[in-house]
């Protein structure tokens, strides 16, 4: 039986064959696609529209189209705060936005968390990958240990870290050995709470990115180092002139994954601080969930859209930069 029509007759007489082929292909895709379309694709599209409606549950008929009002409400700085300003100008109002308005606080906290967590995780994962890339005895065991937090359940490790960071807990005890005088529960202190979340996040994800870096390191051609040695480069110069540039595609990839992961942070915050104390660790997703729990569905969707825009911007920027760099 001949399955493939000769090239010359491919166009017309092959039409039936082609339709058959398409049907076969679609039958492969259908089981996954139906689930994907129903539970991912449609909700994504609906979310955009829902962010422009007002709805507090009940029958779908109660949903009201209000255009961009959700966004206006989210980003508006209440007049009573502006009235209290001594000289209201753009910057002082912007300051108010990040200090008083929920979405401003959530944005500020999310960005602060991201800006600290991303470089810390990267430094640790690169350092660990470099160490394990040497012929080390027991490398498999070290790798598995450092990776383990990534697979362990967030609820269990968050409660454990929470206890360890309590008043008189082991972390404060340890720090006091080094002369610290801080002995409060980290997650109840408005300055330390975000650090508690950062520490746990870095600790949890560094093993994962270490594995990615390790794979990248093993892909660097040996000849590059040999050539560098012949040219008289010392270890440090080899690192900055061979290793780092060779790692840059991976670094791009890792940084984007990390930034997006940080923007989406929810579990760790919900389980450790609940967004508090006050609004000290309120993040974008924490805010969405708060609005969702208050049955303000339209507004919750609008916050989710802010997150979506942030994530897509980062993704697009990354592709642009990667193109530019690889063209150089």
């Amino acid at each position: 039986m001949i399955q493939q029509a000769p090239v010359s007759s491919c166009r017309r007489p092959g039409g039936k064959l082609r339709r058959r082929r398409t049907l076969v292909a679609l039958s492969f895709i259908a089981p996954n696609f139906i689930g994907f379309a129903l539970f991912t694709l449609i909700p994504v599209i609906v979310a955009v529209f829902m962010s422009m409606t007002e709805w507090s549950g009940g029958s779908l008929g109660n949903m009201k189209w209000i255009g961009l009002q959700n966004y206006e409400k989210l980003f508006a700085v209440p007049q009573r705060y502006i009235d209290r300003l001594e000289n209201p100008n753009f910057f002082s109002i912007l300051g108010l936005f990040f200090e008083r308005v929920d979405i401003g606080i959530a944005l500020k906290n999310t960005v602060t968390f991201t800006v600290i967590t991303v470089p810390l995780t990267m430094v640790f994962s690169v350092a660990l990958a470099l160490a394990l890339n040497k012929a080390v005895r027991g490398a498999v065991a070290f790798r598995a240990i450092i990776f383990f937090p990534y697979v362990s359940s967030t609820v269990a490790i968050c409660v454990c870290w929470n206890f360890m960071m309590m008043k008189n807990g082991p972390i404060n005890q340890l720090l006091m050995l080094f002369g610290s005088s801080f002995n409060k529960t980290w997650t109840a202190d408005s300055n330390m709470a975000i650090w508690a979340v950062i520490i746990v996040s870095v600790w949890k994800s560094m093993g994962y990115y270490m594995v990615i870096y390790l794979a990248a390191l093993q892909g660097i051609p040996r000849e590059l180092y040999e050539a560098a040695t012949v040219d008289g480069a010392n270890k440090w110069q080899q690192f900055t002139h061979v290793t780092l540039p060779q790692l840059s595609p991976t670094t791009f990839f890792v940084s984007v994954m990390l930034v997006i992961g940080c923007f989406k942070i929810y579990d760790t915050v919900a389980l450790m601080t609940g967004g508090g104390p006050g609004r000290a660790t309120k993040m974008l997703v924490t805010y969405t969930i708060d609005e969702f729990n208050a049955s303000k569905y339209g507004s919750a969707c609008a916050i989710a859209m802010v997150l979506l825009v942030l994530v897509l911007t980062v993704t697009v920027l990354q592709f642009r930069m990667e193109k530019k760099f690889s063209a150089d």
Partner: protein, 290 residues
């Protein structure tokens, strides 16, 4: 010149080897310290789980309990229906893993090896949604689920996780690496496309499937946000939300909370330790999933 150069290089080499030894020792010290730091929370968890509640925050800290209170581990099962949480989570995690692996490898075959109209457009749809965080569309999804009666059922959590675009992407990348000639040869031998998928592609993609299985299983087992939003009844709770409830209800029984946390870690630890080679290789080759 050559001779002096040679003789002069000897002492340098010895100095080099001393430096190298020192470097190696430093390397091990750093690695051991970092591994210890990584493990300390787990050690503390284990140690606290064997203490009495008032001993947990003793000053100074005692790493090895005076008396091992193993009874904590039997007590937790009477305080909460832990066994049911485990059963629910196992049902969800295993079915999600099965559905996800089957449907994604099936779809991935078409995307990688078959030619048809709209293939690239469809695939682009998949890729685009990988970048869209679940948090951005969870509310319409929630309303959709509730209106079709999936709210507060385990089925909701299964459906939520089972059709991710990530699985299709991962399997497609792997299939593209398998030579198309193999499929052509099989076609000439009279195998149908389904036959090629079952007899050629599946057996060749064991390592990719292993990766997907572990990712999906661990991801589903550890998922907190999905069950938190969808499950309210006690009899459908998964381990993560069940543990969370346990913590809230027994908030000052530190020792019991640590024992329950310890127990919740066991299944994933077993899966990870037995399959960790595939897991780590899988990340290294696919390099995805955040």
């Amino acid at each position: 010149m050559a001779q002096t150069g040679l003789s002069a290089s000897r002492p340098v080499r010895r100095a080099d080897s001393v430096a190298a030894t020192v470097g190696r020792i430093a390397l091990y010290v750093v690695l051991i310290c970092l591994s210890a730091v990584t493990l300390i929370p787990f050690v503390w968890m284990l140690s606290s789980s064997l203490k009495l509640d008032r001993e947990v925050f003793e000053f100074p800290i005692r790493w090895i309990p005076k008396v091992f209170h193993w009874e904590n581990y039997s007590l937790i099962w009477t305080k909460a229906p832990m066994l049911m949480y485990f059963k629910n989570t196992a049902v969800v995690a295993i079915s999600v893993t099965l559905i996800q692996t089957m449907t994604s490898s099936f779809a991935a075959y078409a995307f990688a090896k078959l030619e048809f109209r709209f293939r690239d457009t469809l695939f682009l749809c998949y890729i685009a949604t990988i970048a869209v965080p679940w948090q951005a569309y969870m509310i319409p999804q929630f309303i959709e689920f509730r209106s079709i009666g999936l709210y507060d059922t385990l089925l909701a959590i299964m459906v939520l996780q089972a059709f991710s675009a990530f699985g299709v992407f991962l399997m497609r990348q792997f299939y593209r690496g398998i030579p198309t000639d193999l499929c052509e040869a099989a076609r000439i031998d009279g195998l149908s496309e389904y036959g090629i998928w079952a007899r050629i592609m599946l057996p060749l993609s064991k390592s990719a499937i292993a990766t997907l299985v572990i990712f999906t299983f661990i991801g589903t087992w550890n998922d907190y946000m999905g069950p938190m939003i969808y499950l309210t009844s006690e009899n459908v709770k998964t381990v993560q939300v069940g543990l969370r409830r346990f913590i809230q209800e027994n908030s000052s029984d530190y020792h019991l909370i640590m024992a329950a946390s310890m127990v919740s870690l066991i299944p994933v630890s077993v899966v990870f330790l037995t399959l960790q080679r595939y897991f780590i290789e899988g990340i290294a080759t696919s390099g995805l999933k955040g």
